[in-house]
Symmetry: C2
Subunit: 203 residues, 2 copies
């Protein structure tokens, strides 16, 4: 095994960014299957073929790895929401693409979300606040579009927060029940959620 | 301090059921403020004025107390859903009262839900399964009403699971954002969520 951070156990050479990603993927797998508390830095070092000293070059502590996993999932949500919003012309179309983006990110990041839900109490308060701030930003992005609909007189007489969190709640709840290999494909899921939402909130 | 389980620190006499409730309330408070991991059985015994031996008469281990707190919140949800369902005549009215009951239980049991979310991984697998089974039962109760609407031809062309979890998601998500002391009162909240849902799903 190599402690210099440049090769995998199979001998593949990695640059520092790839190495960091490699550690995060191995940690995601280990935290998901064995649990965060049951995984040691030694286990992770072994999994990626590095020494503990080599690991410290990338992450000084296990909770830095936990934070990096959660942060990267939340950043992916924000990036996809931004791309979705910027791809559409009207507030309604923007909300529709943002709903689809949220569902997609939730479905494709189930392992990260599970780790976040199970271990939120293990993050330092300021890091929890960082994650919460970015999630609040994702809410503000959606709310701003509903506000446009309201200003244009297209929204029913509904509180903007209730509408925004109704959308956010139905989109995020797919984490708890939706199986992408089950009878409802993801396009049908997002179409039907959008139908429920827009029939429900638009005049 | 008394170890016989019949008096509180203030000298109030309690029967065994009241004593059990007293322990659970003290544990809820301690787990909520200090965290489950940071609360010892000794802390709880001190808080209720019992010896550790006296506590064991009610709960053999700290995770028995954790389970009892979560179980009682879930049982309250099922009891309120059943009462709500049985109080209304039509499927639509039943879903409306069940939505209001879910929101009410979530808002009034925020501490219990937080403890459940933060400590789910500390319950034994068979206990986690018990909680999951009862939550599945709550979903089945709502789904059965949507199925009645579908059979009566009143539902849009929507998958029953998507509809059920859209409702369940918006109702449960209030945990993450709704402040009962804020500008939207609980009746307005449930009325607006019901409006979004029924405009969204009914023909």
């Amino acid at each position: 095994m190599s402690g210099n951070g440049t090769t995998t156990p199979s001998g593949l050479r990695l640059n520092p960014n790839e190495r960091r990603e490699h550690i995060l993927r191995a940690a995601l797998e280990a935290f998901h299957t064995k649990g965060y508390g049951q995984t040691s830095v030694r286990d992770l070092a072994d999994a990626v073929g590095m020494s503990i000293a080599g690991m410290y070059h990338y992450f000084a502590a296990k909770d830095d790895i936990l934070f990096a996993i959660i942060e990267s999932a939340v950043d992916r949500l924000l990036a996809e929401l931004t791309a979705a919003r910027d791809s559409a012309e009207t507030p309604e179309a923007r909300i529709r693409t943002m709903l689809a983006a949220t569902v997609r990110v939730v479905v494709e990041n189930r392992a990260e979300i599970r780790i976040q839900l199970d271990n939120a109490d293990k993050l330092a308060p300021e890091r929890r606040e960082t994650i919460r701030d970015r999630l609040r930003e994702s809410v503000r992005m959606v709310r701003a579009e509903f506000e446009q609909l309201q200003l244009a007189g297209q929204l029913e007489e509904l509180d903007l927060n209730v509408v925004t969190f109704a959308m956010y709640g139905m989109a995020n709840w797919v984490y708890h029940w939706y199986d992408p290999d089950g009878p409802v494909d993801m396009e049908t899921l997002t179409d039907q959620l959008a139908e429920i939402l827009f029939h429900g909130v638009l005049k």
